[in-house]
């Protein structure tokens, strides 16, 4: 059906590109505490070692900000992790999952998308 070129190159570029400037560690640390009252420390740790930058790979807004459909970051616009350890705004990944039938794949790594239990 098509030509799968530069998959590797793309992935490399994605990693490099998904930073949009001035978000720094301390800013998302406080955001993590703010939006997650249950304190999912393990999830946070896996997110950092997985080298995903601090922006949502779908809307490209910072994780300490909210998705384009929300006005305020925090509890109303939570983050969610996949089994593959990639994180997105819940609203962003839901839009993607709902648009993909029968099976959605993670936008970052293309593994079958499963919400992390």
């Amino acid at each position: 059906m098509g030509n799968s070129l530069v998959a590797a190159k793309e992935k490399h570029n994605l990693k490099r590109q998904s930073t949009f400037g001035d978000d720094n560690e301390s800013s998302w640390d406080s955001a993590v505490m703010g939006w997650n009252p249950h304190g999912k420390w393990h999830a946070v740790a896996s997110w950092t070692w997985d080298a995903q930058d601090e922006t949502c790979g779908i809307c490209r807004m910072a994780f300490d900000g909210c998705c384009p459909d929300c006005k305020l970051p925090g509890d109303d616009c939570p983050l969610i992790w996949g089994a593959c350890n990639h994180a997105f705004h819940l609203h962003c990944i839901l839009k993607w999952v709902n648009s993909q039938t029968p099976q959605a794949h993670c936008p970052m790594c293309r593994r079958e998308w499963q919400f992390k239990g």
Partner: protein, 195 residues
């Protein structure tokens, strides 16, 4: 509804890296970010080298959940690109799209397609046949098309302005239009004619 905040960020990001990638994306008009014009340099060591290829980009309402629509505005001779319409056969622009891809990564993939034709999965059957059966002729035609259609910037800016003013367009409008299409006289003419 297109996520225009994301598109804005993408444009900034892409154009910031222009020196390295040679890839550019510009809105076709200031009023509408759903119609864009991409530019990719022909890859070195291919018959497309030295060419500057324009790509029409239309963002569907569902972008980035649906892939951008891309087609060559510059005529190109390649098995996976229609020599008639500029339509591109590339999986990431179809079922392999991911919302984590961007206009820039998509254009990089199109550029990679120029380097690595896949004649077994053609968009243009005539070109693909030629590629498979008569490679030297394919290379010659691809080169000729690059020189004829993708190297239009040989004229100086003033020459282009003069040419378009002689056609009856006001000079100020000609200049601003040329800037908006990155100096491409054919695109400028098209834009001037469409008002």
């Amino acid at each position: 509804m297109v996520d225009f905040a994301r598109v804005q960020k993408e444009l900034q990001e892409c154009n910031r890296d222009f020196e390295v990638s040679g890839i550019k994306v510009m809105p076709k008009s200031d009023a509408n970010l759903a119609h864009l014009l991409g530019t990719i340099p022909g890859p070195l060591g291919t018959p497309y080298e030295g060419g500057s290829f324009k790509i029409d980009i239309t963002l569907p309402d569902g972008y980035p959940f649906e892939p951008p629509k891309m087609q060559f505005a510059t005529k190109v001779w390649h098995p996976n690109i229609s020599s008639q319409s500029g339509a591109i056969c590339l999986d990431i622009l179809k079922d392999q799209w991911s919302p984590a891809l961007t206009l820039k990564t998509a254009l990089l993939s199109v550029q990679a397609l120029l380097s690595a034709p896949e004649p077994d999965d053609p968009q243009d059957a005539v070109v693909a046949q030629q590629y498979l059966r008569d490679y030297p002729t394919f290379m010659g035609t691809a080169r000729y098309w690059t020189e004829a259609f993708a190297m239009t910037s040989s004229l100086g800016v003033e020459d282009k302005v003069l040419k378009l003013v002689e056609m009856g367009f006001p000079e100020a409008l000609v200049r601003s239009t040329l800037v908006s299409v990155d100096g491409d006289e054919n695109m400028a003419l098209e834009k001037l004619c469409s008002g």
